[in-house]
Structures are given as structure tokens and as C-alpha cells.
């Protein structure tokens, strides 16, 4: 918990250290991505499931709130609530049949679902504005107070991220987290101890979808413009990359992975076409050599270095 408070503190101070607003944008996006990644980390690393369509939930939240606030004219707060709510409902509807599937079947089902949503976002031009996107989304307004300054919005986003992390830690250190770890090791034994496996899988699935939906809602009102290309298969893959980089089971790792993936394109400005290739390479190499992510790899590197040093001094 101390770490979480420290992390929150760092985030709050960060804007003052940044030279200009552009970096603030990256920070905000990083936090939004991290919200997605934390939820997915719970699903993949702890519940042992996979979702290749989580971008769909991100988009569902974003488009729902945009449509309700800009087109229908509801208040931003209400639209946001509806955005998250709809995401949760869809997650339950999709999760119930999907989570009965295993391994590659589940992967395909979530992938198919993600792509169907992606196609819907692109084709229902009347609602979503089609491929050219949805413009004119109102800025984030809470209880009549419009968050005009980006810094304020960032502080809110950072707060929500820390809230999600707090919820995740609570869950993982509770009987639910224990049940998840149990069913990861032995589903039979977990069942014999009274763990309702289907229920827990659905719970984590819906929770992770809710995190993504909430992030989507914030995303829409921050950028005031959204396009279907942000919510497609590639983004779902990016989310998996974030979780994999973070070591699958680690929530802080997922956050680091999220920021890494957010910042990477900035460094690859000159090599725009390398991004896709790099993500593919990261996925393959990480799954093969670094199953516990960057942190694990770093740790192993340090251990190897220490062993070499002590070997040299004893040699």
C-alpha cells in the first residue's frame, strides 16, 4: 500500500516536472492504457484466461459515452456511467458463453467478438461517425465543473488508475485472489473446495472489461474525438503486449508495460513501420525467454551479473 501511495504521489508531481504539454498527453494516454492493462493482467495472469478483443470494451465505453453526451444530449456524468454500464452488460453476455471455452477456442471467441465490435464501430456511421471518427465530444465535466486544464484531467485519470490498482490488490490478496491462484494450479481441487470456477472467471472478465470501459469513457472526453482505428485488433494485441512485458501476473508490471508500449512509438517516430514488427518480436521473445516479463528478465540479468562477479572474485 505504501508503494501505491508513493506511486500516486509521483504521478501527482509529474506534471510539474514535464517541460511541456505534449508529455502530459503521453502521461495521460499511458495511464489510460495502464487501466486497460491492469484489468487484462488480472484476467490473463491470475484467472488464466485470454482475451484478444479487449479493445472492444475500450471502444464500447468510448462510443457509448460519446453518443449519449454529444448526440443524445445527456450530461457527461450520466453518459460516462452508461458507458461503463453498457460495457459491463456486454461483458456478462459475452463472457457467460465464452468462458466455458478453453485455450485457443476462447482466444478465437474473444478475437471474433473484438472484430465484430470493430466492424460495428466502422460501419454504423449514423451512430459512430464511421471510419472518419466521432467529433465534438464534450470535455469531461463532473457535477457541472468542466475540467478545462489538462493537468486537472490528468490528476483525475491518475486517481482512477490508482483506484483500480487498489481494487486489484484488494482482490488478489483476498479469498477471491486465493481462489484464482488455486484454480490456476488445480481446477479439480479448487472445485472440490467449493470454488465456483465459472463464476470467478466471469467476475474477473467483467471487472477487466469494466476497467477498459471506464478508461474508454475517460479517453473519449479527454480527446473529444475518437476513431474506430483506435479500438481494433492491433490495440487488443498491444494490450496483450503490455501484460506480457509486465510478466503476466504482476499488476505493477502491467503498468510499466503499458507506459513502455505508450512511449515506444515516440522513440520510433523515424521508424514508423518498425512498430508492428517490434510488437510481434516482443511477444514471441518475451513468451519464450521472459515469462516473468521485464522485471523477471532484469532480475535474472542482475543475478547472472552477480554470479559472474562472485565467480571472478573466487576464481
Amino acid at each position: 500500500m505504501i508503494w501505491l501511495a508513493a506511486f500516486f504521489g509521483v504521478l501527482m508531481l509529474a506534471p510539474t516536472l514535464l517541460p511541456n504539454n505534449y508529455y502530459l498527453t503521453i502521461l495521460i494516454l499511458g495511464c489510460l492504457h495502464a487501466m486497460n492493462a491492469v484489468g487484462l493482467c488480472l484476467l490473463v495472469g491470475h484467472a488464466g484466461q485470454i482475451s484478444l478483443g479487449h479493445a472492444g470494451f475500450y471502444g464500447l465505453g468510448a462510443y457509448t459515452t460519446s453518443y449519449l453526451s454529444a448526440t443524445v444530449g445527456l450530461s457527461v456524468g450520466l453518459s460516462m456511467l452508461a458507458g461503463v454500464g453498457l460495457t459491463v452488460v456486454v461483458a456478462v453476455l459475452v463472457g457467460l458463453p465464452s468462458l466455458k471455452l478453453k485455450g485457443h477456442y476462447l482466444a478465437m471467441a474473444t478475437l471474433g467478438f473484438g472484430i465484430i465490435l470493430s466492424i460495428l464501430f466502422t460501419e454504423t456511421v449514423d451512430i459512430t461517425g464511421g471510419p472518419s471518427g466521432f467529433v465534438g465530444i464534450p470535455r469531461l465535466t463532473l457535477f457541472g465543473w468542466e475540467l478545462r486544464k489538462d493537468v486537472t484531467l490528468f490528476r483525475l485519470v491518475a486517481l482512477v488508475l490508482c483506484l483500480f490498482v487498489w481494487l486489484s490488490f484488494n482482490l488478489l490478496h483476498s479469498r477471491v485472489g486465493r481462489a484464482l491462484r488455486a484454480l490456476h494450479t488445480s481446477e479439480r481441487a479448487a472445485e472440490a473446495m467449493g470454488v465456483d470456477i465459472a463464476n470467478y472467471k466471469l467476475l474477473v472478465f467483467v471487472l477487466s472489461a469494466a476497467f477498459s470501459g471506464f478508461a474508454g469513457v475517460l479517453y473519449a472526453h479527454y480527446l473529444t474525438f475518437i476513431a474506430p482505428s483506435s479500438f481494433g485488433f492491433m490495440f487488443s494485441v498491444e494490450l496483450i503486449v503490455m501484460v506480457v512485458l509486465g510478466g503476466m501476473v504482476s499488476v505493477p508490471g502491467a503498468i510499466v508495460g503499458a507506459f513502455f508500449v505508450t512511449v515506444l512509438p515516440e522513440f520510433l517516430r523515424a521508424f514508423e513501420n518498425v512498430e508492428v514488427l517490434l510488437f510481434g518480436a516482443i511477444l514471441v521473445l518475451c513468451m519464450m525467454f521472459l515469462p516473468d516479463g521485464m522485471a523477471g528478465g532484469w532480475r535474472r540479468l542482475l543475478d547472472w551479473g552477480k554470479a559472474r562477479l562472485s565467480g571472478a572474485s573466487h576464481g
Binding site: 477471491v176 486465493r178 491462484r181 494450479t185 473446495m193
Partner: protein, 257 residues
């Protein structure tokens, strides 16, 4: 009051072309230690799997404490007080001994998930209670000092005890033991026999156990069911079953027809 805690009527199981169990009828009485024995391939573990809910019978019905549970999912049977151990140990190897045993309390001491999500005072009190009960169970089997050890690092005999402690933490009404003596030597089996008797008396529960070790079975069972090739060939007290010629033939091999 009917003393039957578990009743099987006409239970049959088919796996593809194989009839694993055919027309099994038996009743386990409350407070009894009922053993299911038989030569290899008799269907003993299949029957236990049917009772615990891991296998659905193709025919027949199962009643637990008078209620029909034939199609009740396994985890709900655990909630109802039926807990089992496994022949091939299924401990949670990456968790500590204590955590393993706390899993036993999972079905009995529960709260809606949002309590866990928000770490409410209620959930913290529940955690404390769960820890207490887990320690109790560990102390009963004599493993309280190993509480923080990682499960996969334990010796085999201790891992068996761990599974038992985990089952006890659930304070079951019916304990299903699947070959609990497998892999134990004579001394350990003796201790196990005493332990099972102690468990039955202290926790006031009923036991159904599947076993190969005849000494253990004859020593502690109140009733025995003998299976062979998926069919019941004998039922009764240990004394009766021991003298039953059909049982002797099944184990030693009858005359070739």
C-alpha cells in the same frame, strides 16, 4: 430419523464404449466409515468421482442427506458439506501450507466478492476467522509448525496430511478419501488409520474411503462395499465381507470358465 447420509441408487457410468459402473446401490450411514474396495479397474475412483460430482452418471440417482444431488455441480456439493481428497495429490503447490488449508474454508466462510474488492471490515474479520480455522485444522493433523512452508517442498507424507487438513478446514459432514494410504509405509498407514478414526470422532462426520490397503480398511471401516468390473459384488461389515466367497474369488481369481 433416517441414518443414511449418502444413498446411491442404480448409478451407472458409461465412458464411450466402456461401462465403468453398472447399477450401483448402496447407502452410507451417518457417522460410519464406509470403505469402497475392489481389484484394480473396479470403478472405485469413478464411483467416488460420481459422488463428489466430477463425473455425471448416465443412469441412477444420488441422495445426500435426503436431497437429490445427482446433477448438482461439484462446488455446490462442497458447500453442502461434502469434501474430498485426491488419489494423485492435488495440492496447490505454489501456495503455502496455511494458504492451502484456508482454501478448505472457501466454501463455508464466504462473502460476496465486492467485500473482497473493497476490503471491507467484514472481509477482514472473515480473513481472520479463516486463518484461525485453518490453524486449527493444521494443529489437528500436527502440522501447525509447517504453516509457512511452500506446499511443493513438503515430503510426500506431509503433503497427504496437508490435503487432509484442507478437507477438515471445510468442517464437512461427509469426507471422501481417495486412496489416502497410497504411497505410505506401514507405520504411516497406522498413523493414518488412527487419524481417520480421531477425525470421525472429533469432527463428528461420516467417511467414505476408497482404498487398496486391506489392513487399513478392515481395521477402521464400519461398512464395506466391494466392486469388481463396475459391479457390486458384496456389501456388509468387514467380518461379513472377509468371508464372502465372491470377494475372495475376485481378489485371488476364481476358476477359469
Amino acid at each position: 430419523m433416517d441414518r443414511t447420509i449418502l444413498g446411491c441408487s442404480g448409478v451407472a457410468v458409461r465412458f464411450g464404449g466402456v461401462q465403468a459402473l453398472a447399477d450401483i446401490h448402496f447407502e452410507a450411514l451417518r457417522g460410519d466409515i464406509t470403505a469402497i474396495i475392489g481389484p484394480n479397474g473396479a470403478g472405485k475412483t469413478t464411483l467416488l468421482n460420481v459422488i463428489s460430482g466430477m463425473v455425471t452418471p448416465s443412469h441412477g440417482a444420488l441422495r445426500f442427506e435426503g436431497r437429490d444431488i445427482t446433477t448438482l455441480p461439484a462446488h455446490k456439493r462442497a458447500w453442502g458439506g461434502m469434501v474430498r481428497t485426491f488419489q494423485n495429490l492435488e495440492i496447490f503447490s505454489n501456495m503455502t501450507v496455511l494458504e492451502n488449508v484456508t482454501m478448505g474454508c472457501h466454501g463455508r466462510l464466504s462473502l460476496p466478492a465486492w467485500h473482497s474488492l473493497l476490503r471491507t471490515p467484514k472481509s477482514r474479520r472473515l480473513e481472520a476467522e479463516v486463518r484461525r480455522e485453518a490453524f486449527e485444522a493444521l494443529e489437528f493433523v500436527g502440522m501447525a509448525d509447517l504453516a509457512q512452508a511452500t506446499a511443493k517442498d513438503l515430503a510426500f507424507g506431509k503433503q497427504r496430511l496437508l490435503e487432509l487438513a484442507r478437507a477438515l478446514a471445510a468442517k464437512p459432514k461427509l469426507l471422501l478419501l481417495d486412496e489416502p494410504a497410497a504411497g505410505l509405509n506401514i507405520a504411516e498407514t497406522q498413523l493414518l488409520a488412527d487419524l481417520i478414526l480421531r477425525i470421525r470422532d472429533t469432527y463428528n462426520l461420516s467417511v467414505i474411503l476408497v482404498e487398496h490397503d486391506m489392513e487399513l480398511v478392515m481395521r477402521i471401516s464400519d461398512a464395506i462395499l466391494v466392486l469388481c468390473f463396475g459391479q457390486t459384488i458384496s456389501r456388509g461389515t468387514p467380518a461379513q465381507v472377509q468371508k464372502d466367497p465372491k470377494v475372495i474369488a475376485a481378489y485371488l481369481g476364481g476358476d477359469e470358465d
